[in-house]
Symmetry: C2
Subunit: 206 residues, 2 copies
């Protein structure tokens, strides 16, 4: 009659999660178009496009409004040209749904962008929660030398719009290597959203 | 225009959380009535009723449907008579809202009960998430010798009904010491909910 309570041990190094209901992997070949340096991307694919860049384990009880989905993301360290490995990124299909990320291991960034193109960057570090409020496009970036592992929590009825970033030619900001560290630079292929596109995002809220 | 993204470092030993929007503490005197052994409780209050048994730090962005609240709970180790320290416990005021707990440090249990009195017990251990599905009354219990610290995540519109447990004379099961460990025993003061009380819980869902 009621859903059974469940336990989900998480491995902070690998992102493995017990009793996950789903898992997906993103291989380098799946990520065509997200990096600026197309020649470096083609060369990396040639050298081994099947390698997994990141993997997601999730516990999705269902999609009922008011329920919660959670899981882990594991991302290898690496770069395409100067640009650090990153997730494809998304805004929630119901754009007023938030997400909480919680650092497990490694050193990353949460790169966020409002529909109007405002940018925010917060560190993803072990034992630190990052609150991504409603309406922010978000993507994580591994700026460290080790895998980045984080857990995440979001409302089960959020949905994901993964194309919003591609439609604007990427996010407004790219995260590239700067010596042993990183820096944020403007993305030359970025096209700011039109008023109509922004209105379409707002129209998804309830 | 949009809510600002925020970072919340969590101390796994103390439960301290950066940029919390609220905190409350439960002192022993605040917990009258939850333990079976009233004489032992009175003696413990006499010896120091002001001591904090547990404290909650929370980040509550608001109460908008679809938003998320998260935070930490820190609970001292200890017992009243044979019964381990525990939180007051609750069901969500919207009973079909779930909660995810995530162990930070210490050894605890999540004690859960359906409106009809079915009981489930899951371990709260470091790096293990416990999914408390919709409709389960829940309370955490510190069965270890060290503080129990956990983080939690729930829909911001959940609300809490803290009286549901008192109305039934406690939960159906009590967690008591058993040598160096613990065991679950029937609660002699428990009164199963009537069909009407169960229907009232179901009436809170949306």
């Amino acid at each position: 009659m009621y859903t059974e309570p469940t336990s989900h041990p998480i491995d902070a190094r690998t992102g493995d999660m017990g009793a996950a209901t789903g898992r997906y992997e993103k291989r380098l070949v799946d990520l065509a178009g997200i990096y600026l340096d197309e020649a470096a991307f083609a060369a990396a694919v040639e050298a081994g496009g099947d390698r997994v860049v990141y993997a997601v384990n999730e516990m999705r009880p269902g999609t009922a409004p008011g329920d919660l989905t959670f899981g882990t993301t594991f991302m290898e360290p690496g770069r395409i040209g100067d640009e650090f490995y990153m997730t494809r990124g998304h805004i929630h299909a119901k754009a007023n749904r938030p997400e909480v990320y919680y650092g497990e291991s490694g050193a990353g960034l949460m790169l966020m962008e409002s529909p109007e193109g405002e940018v925010r960057i917060l560190a993803l570090e072990p034992r630190s929660a990052v609150y991504v409020p409603p309406m922010w496009i978000h993507r994580s970036v591994n700026v460290g030398a080790a895998p980045l592992v984080m857990s995440f929590f979001y409302p089960s009825d959020s949905g994901q719009d993964y194309d919003i970033i591609a439609r604007s030619g990427g996010m407004a900001t790219r995260i590239i290597a700067d010596g042993a560290g990183w820096k944020a630079v403007p993305n030359p292929t970025y096209r700011p959203r039109t008023a109509e596109e922004i209105a379409q995002v707002h129209a998804t809220t309830d």
